[in-house]
Symmetry: C2
Subunit: 161 residues, 2 copies
């Protein structure tokens, strides 16, 4: 009788321990080291904070580049514009997109942004979440990017609060 | 003593039941109803089996359409070609891509396919896995698709075995 109780308690402890692992495992699946299309290499030019870039397709005949960008929490790129525009497909975490003079748009998984031509804007992660989007530059041969100033901490805080 | 044993057994049953839910929940996260960019609406023309299409970006100025295609297990599209080509970004499950006269390529999450111009091919799911890819049609205004015959069951089985 006593032995069976000890066995039961031991099984209980094992099961409790297994169940306590659960949230951790789910978190790894949600914010895992590798985004769905891969992480790529660190990039720093024109970014405030840590970011990674993975080129996915640069076939010359397509005149269209495709790549994956991952922003660490708090990271954003500088103000910039594209002469034809850019498409963002949000695949992980929470981020923001802001056009100059407009309120920021909060982005979650599944969101699509069609960035208009010649419009100063930035995109990046929320303060508390890694953020990944696929980026598509259509008509790449004539689609020029113009980089501006960093997004100040004050402007970023205002946009993401 | 007996009562405490009953309580322990009751807790054990509860925990076992909770732990039995675990694989089911993980499976939902892996092959959930909604792919990362959404499921969209059923499509049937030029497909063998069940498939869903969600348009993501069709901005005329970009000359580049972006969409999500989800194939039920065993589903594939008909043989077809694009006059400029197409980009596939694999985001869920296991699938196949085959060019006419070539062995099929097995596709997993993170894979990219640059489909060459004027090349007869098909893509679709594995027999035992749902499969989702983002599709990008660059230079869409001049990128004509030519549809051919369905991929026969024999050809599909041969390609995916």
């Amino acid at each position: 009788m006593k032995r069976s109780k000890i066995v039961l308690v031991a099984i209980l402890v094992m099961l409790l321990s297994a169940c306590c692992d659960k949230p951790q495992k789910l978190e790894i699946m949600n914010t895992g080291i590798e985004p769905v299309m891969g992480l790529g290499e660190p990039i720093s030019a024109n970014f405030t904070g840590d970011a990674w870039l993975k080129m996915l397709s640069t076939e010359p005949g397509y005149d269209c580049n495709v790549y994956n960008v991952t922003f660490a929490p708090g990271t954003r790129n500088y103000w910039h514009s594209h002469s034809i525009g850019q498409i963002l497909l949000c695949t992980e975490g929470v981020g923001y997109y802001q056009e100059m003079g407009q309120p920021a748009r909060r982005l979650v998984v599944g969101d699509v942004v069609n960035i208009p031509a010649n419009t100063m804007h930035w995109h990046g992660a929320a303060t508390d979440s890694r953020f990944t989007h696929i980026g598509i530059t259509p008509r790449v041969n004539e689609n020029a990017t113009t980089w501006g100033e960093p997004v100040s901490d004050e402007a970023y805080e205002q946009a993401t609060k």
